[in-house]
């Protein structure tokens, strides 16, 4: 079985009363991250801390900065606020404060329950209220989300998509939570209904001082709702910034592409559009280095090119039966990836002339427009009768602050560290 790191080394802080948006394409791990925060999934590694007082938060942040990577030994401070280390029972008492709203209102409501039962259930399960009180509170909550008391005695299928989403929101709110995870709350809805739901969510937040995590792929919704945005790609956060800053000044090439991909509802405006080539790579075996480098338009030599990026071309380029320029080499038997090296095995042991020929082929190829992956080859060496193409050791760019509260994980920005040669 292969392991999928759906979410990989993510740091994210959400402050009380704010809306943080998580954006990215499907399969980038945003929903998984949302579920981890509610502990609907157990993390393999790492902690989710909840309800930290402001001054303690600064201390914890300092701790993270000094001994990052030492995940095995969490400090007492982390233990005190950690949600992931709570026992089942203590976790259950927290659940009422952390509530989800899911994407598809057609599948997230039990079709065999009346609306009044759906609304009362969180209160009864969490032991907040007696059955009678629960029904009353549920009825009140239903009116707060814009439905009427007569709707209590109906089944979910009798409602339209927008109404169902209102019911799902009412169910989440009835236990008076502090934090809502909104997982694509409007993607299944029509534009006009979407606007109604967004207005409702904002209203409630203002009245009750809620904290939202808004998970969506719709950047327009993010712009309207969120205070801060985190952009995810293949399980990593690649950029994090206040909303206005992110839209005015997107830094990461992926964010730029994502922003430019949104169609503008104005036929007179034509905008330059970045069309990303290819598809999101599989998270089972993500690209090394910066995970976006295979689709990036601004890619650099040290962004994480590795032997597998050239393996297929190599079987053509260095094969004398395919490439007339390689005619003085003998038959190419095998191409092997070994760590950061690509080994070419020929029918006869390679000689110095062969090595020079391969080096010339690499040089020629590197000068072509798409030759960046060949420029990442540091050295062509002889290794026990085989020819070894040695690459830079790929390193992932860290998520660094480039300006006030604007974090980006990309080698294009000077604050980020550039990896050197392998040690």
């Amino acid at each position: 079985m292969a392991k999928v790191h759906a979410v990989d080394s993510v740091d994210l802080a959400i402050h009380r009363g704010e809306t943080v948006a998580l954006v990215g394409e499907s399969g980038c791990g945003k929903t998984t991250l949302g579920r981890l925060l509610l502990r609907l999934i157990e993390p393999t590694q790492g902690d989710v801390l909840y309800n930290i007082p402001e001054e303690e938060y600064e201390r914890i942040r300092g701790e993270r900065g000094s001994d990052s990577g030492d995940d095995g030994h969490a400090s007492d401070l982390v233990r005190r606020y950690s949600m992931s280390r709570l026992r089942r029972r203590s976790m259950k008492s927290l659940r009422r404060f952390l509530q989800p709203v899911f994407q598809d209102p057609f599948t997230s409501l039990d079709p065999r329950m009346l609306i009044k039962d759906i609304l009362a259930e969180p209160l009864i399960v969490n032991g907040i209220a007696t059955r009678q009180e629960a029904y009353e509170l549920g009825a009140k909550q239903l009116q707060d989300v814009g439905l009427r008391a007569e709707h209590l005695y109906r089944f979910p299928h009798e409602f339209s998509g927008g109404q169902r989403q209102r019911i799902a929101i009412a169910r989440a709110l009835v236990s008076e939570p502090e934090f809502l995870m909104l997982d694509e709350p409007t993607s299944a809805l029509d534009v006009s209904v979407q606007a109604q739901i967004l207005n409702l969510l904002q209203d409630i937040q203002q009245k009750q001082g809620l904290t939202y995590l808004l998970i969506t792929h719709n950047l327009s919704v993010v712009r309207h709702m969120a205070d801060r945005v985190a952009v995810m790609y293949l399980g990593r956060i690649v950029e994090r910034a206040p909303t206005a800053e992110l839209f005015a000044n997107p830094l990461h090439p992926y964010t730029k592409a994502l922003l430019s991909a949104i169609p503008v509802p104005d036929p007179s405006r034509r905008r330059e559009r970045i069309i990303l080539p290819g598809e999101v790579p599989s998270p089972i075996n993500p690209p090394s280095g910066c995970r976006f480098h295979t689709r990036c338009g601004f890619v650099l030599v040290h962004c994480g090119w590795s032997p597998r990026d050239i393996a297929t071309i190599a079987t053509h380029l260095f094969d004398p039966s395919r490439n007339p320029d390689a005619a003085d080499l003998t038959k190419l038997e095998e191409v092997v990836i070994q760590g950061d090296r690509l080994l070419l095995e020929y029918h006869t042991p390679a000689t110095e002339e062969h090595r020079q020929r391969v080096e010339r082929l690499v040089k020629a190829r590197a000068d072509l427009p798409d030759g960046i992956r060949f420029r990442a080859i540091q050295q062509v060496a002889l290794d026990d009768g085989r020819i070894a193409l040695e690459f830079l050791h790929p390193m992932e760019p860290s998520l660094d602050e480039v300006s006030n509260d604007h974090f980006v994980s990309c080698y294009l920005y000077p604050n980020s560290t550039v990896p050197g040669r392998p040690k």
């Binding site: 394409e25 499907s26 339209s160 998509g161 927008g162 109404q163 029509d190 534009v191 006009s192 209904v193 979407q194 606007a195 109604q196 967004l198 207005n199 904002q202 209203d203 792929h217 719709n218 950047l219 327009s220 919704v221 712009r223 309207h224 709702m225 909303t243 206005a244 839209f247 592409a257 994502l258 922003l259 430019s260 991909a261 949104i262 169609p263 503008v264 509802p265 104005d266 036929p267 007179s268 405006r269 559009r273 069309i275 990303l276 290819g278 598809e279 999101v280 297929t312 071309i313 053509h316 380029l317 094969d319 039966s321 395919r322 490439n323 007339p324 038959k331």
Partner: protein, 601 residues
């Protein structure tokens, strides 16, 4: 712009346990040649049902196309459809629909000659429209085997031995480093010399052999097809041509019979301004060889005079009718009356004459029936089917690879042999688009093709559609609920609400100055990254309420319960789709000139 598709008064209804639901209620649409027409509206407005009705893909029963005409390439696609499903009223509950199998079968057979080759459709959910147990390449090949059979047979018959040029191409394919170029050469070579692309590829990769040895092998691969294959190719080709001619004859006959309603519209001065000045039409009678038009002497005379009275046509009237037809060429009426060869003057009526039909040839008809019977018999046996159809399928392979490349699928060879689940959503949708393009259609209907996809993938698909549009010059009917996509792609927009078209405008005008209150509401409620004056965080304008239940639509204008400008007349009277300015149409009492005293929005 000359329309390629003219829809008039389309009505589609469904019987449900709660009553009769009219999902599409009198839709008029024109799609010009090479034009992109967007249809927008909330879910449940009848957008998809309109598209399915045009393709005649409504499941009947419980569905039924209750009326209307769809003119496409000189024929009315709905001609004869009134016979397909009969309605029997019941004392209680909704009426019972009784399908007539023979009529439905013949109608579907006629539609099979238009679907794919004339118009094709891309569906919303690519994963549920591809067959999960068949390889992608085969699914596309199947479409080509069905829609371009004659071409494939021609190619089987034209197989030949290799030429020096072919050998050169093959050599190039071996030495090239660029996989894309290699794919291109192989596709060209296999198309020219009638070879299987995968076999050519296998030979190129056979690095154990020298280049000359590989060329020798290639020589052996090429060559004339087997005798049985040649016989089968000729048989199929002939049968296909006969079937096409048969359907075309049948269709022309039915379409002429359905021209009556079109003629009434043509001479209605309210619907066609060019007909002002002509005497009013009294009645129309469609005949086999001509459409007879009876006129009334003056508009004031009552209907009772029609029988004995009526206008005796003069030469001037004949000339005026001829002029009317000539001036309407290039417009929707031109499409409907394209078949009229001459205008003649009869004793009581003006006759629009159609070309004479070729005389009935019993020999040809028998030949056709025999061939069709033989074909069906042969295909009954799976083993025979496989043996006979395999060369045709192999021939289709080259076309499939070309199509997959046209929709910019990387590594088309590899994708050919994959199953749908191995592809991502974007790639699956590309395959669907490839299938829709397989018959080189003049019109492509795209029903929310990007709704299930990510933004970046959506951007790729939209870019692809724009690019394809330039290259294949097909008209596109694009259905979506996303106005931003419409702004990006289309030339003209039709806004649908509760089964009716409420506004039809060029895209720039619609976004600059939306006329119908519903369109205004839709545009205002868009959340955009390029926010207008709206502060982030301030409430968005919305349209109150929801789309009405079509089992029980509101009286008068169907939007009036949600409309902020609604007044008394909106509740009582249904607005017509009128043109307040050229090129634009809107169905709203606010723009009705006769009621100009009401407040404008």
């Amino acid at each position: 712009m000359e329309p390629i598709l003219v829809v008039r008064g389309l009505k589609t209804e469904f019987t449900t346990s709660r009553g009769l639901l009219r999902a599409v209620d009198g839709v008029d649409l024109d799609v010009g040649k090479g034009e992109v027409l967007g249809i927008v509206g909330e879910s449940g407005c009848g957008k998809t049902v309109t598209a399915l009705s045009i393709m005649y893909l409504i499941t009947q029963p419980p569905g039924r196309i209750a009326g209307g005409q769809i003119w496409f390439r000189g024929v009315n696609l709905l001609a004869g459809s009134e016979e397909d499903v009969r309605v029997r009223p019941r004392p209680k509950g909704p009426p019972k629909l009784i399908p007539s199998d023979s009529h439905l079968k013949r109608h579907r057979a006629r539609m099979n000659k238009v679907r794919g080759r004339g118009m094709s459709m891309v569906f919303q959910e690519p994963m549920s429209s591809l067959n999960p147990v068949l390889r992608v390449g085969y699914q596309v090949a199947e479409v080509i085997m069905f829609q371009r059979r004659q071409e494939l047979c021609d190619r089987i018959l034209s197989h030949r031995s290799l030429t020096a040029e072919d050998r050169d191409l093959f050599r190039q394919a071996i030495v090239t480093l660029d996989p894309a170029e290699r794919d291109r050469i192989v596709a060209g070579l296999s198309a020219r010399a009638g070879l299987r692309a995968d076999k050519v590829n296998a030979l190129i990769d056979a690095s154990r052999l020298s280049i000359d040895e590989r060329i020798q092998r290639l020589e052996r691969l090429a060559g004339r097809p087997r005798r049985a294959d040649r016989w089968w190719a000729r048989f199929l080709k002939r049968l296909d041509a006969m079937e096409e001619a048969h359907v075309a004859r049948e269709w022309a006959r039915l379409s002429r019979q359905s021209l009556g309603q079109a003629a009434i519209d043509l001479f209605d001065p309210n619907k066609n301004t060019a007909a002002r000045g002509l005497p009013p039409l009294a009645s129309v009678s469609p005949r086999e060889e001509a459409l007879e038009l009876y006129f009334r002497a003056s508009p004031d005379r009552g209907r009772e005079r029609e029988q004995e009275g009526g206008l005796v046509p003069t030469e001037d009237l004949r000339a005026a009718v001829g002029d009317l037809l000539r001036t309407s060429a290039g417009g929707p009426f031109g499409v409907m009356f394209a078949d009229v060869t001459s205008v003649a003057r009869g004793e009581r009526a003006i006759e629009l004459r159609f070309p004479a039909r070729p005389p009935f040839a019993p020999g040809a008809e028998l030949d056709y029936l025999f061939r069709r019977g033989l074909y069906r018999f042969l295909l009954l046996l799976p083993i025979v089917r496989t043996l006979l159809m395999r060369p045709v399928e192999e021939e289709a392979r080259g076309y499939v690879l070309d199509l997959l490349r046209l929709v910019r699928i990387p590594e088309a060879m590899k994708v050919y042999g994959e199953y749908p689940h191995e592809l991502s959503g974007g790639m699956q949708q590309r395959v669907m688009i490839a299938m829709a393009l397989a018959g080189e259609p003049a019109l492509m209907i795209a029903d929310e093709p990007t709704t299930a996809l990510d933004v970046t993938t959506q951007a790729q698909i939209l870019w692809l559609l724009k690019d394809l549009r330039k290259r294949i010059n097909a008209a596109i009917l694009y259905i979506t609920h996303d106005l931003a996509v419409i702004a990006e792609l289309s030339d003209r927009v039709a806004v649908m609400y509760a089964g009716k078209i409420v506004e039809d405008s060029p895209v720039a005008d619609l976004f600059r100055e939306p006329l119908h209150p519903y369109t205004q509401g839709l545009l205002e409620s868009i959340v955009s990254t390029e926010s207008r004056q709206l502060e982030p965080g301030s409430p968005l304008p919305t349209i109150p309420g929801v789309v009405p239940d079509l089992l029980n639509p509101p009286s008068g204008c169907r939007f009036h319960p949600r409309c902020k400008f609604a007044f008394e007349r909106c509740r009582l009277e249904e607005p017509l789709l009128l043109s307040p300015s050229p090129n634009r149409k809107v169905a709203c009492h606010l723009y009705d000139k006769e009621a100009a005293n009401v407040r404008a929005p």
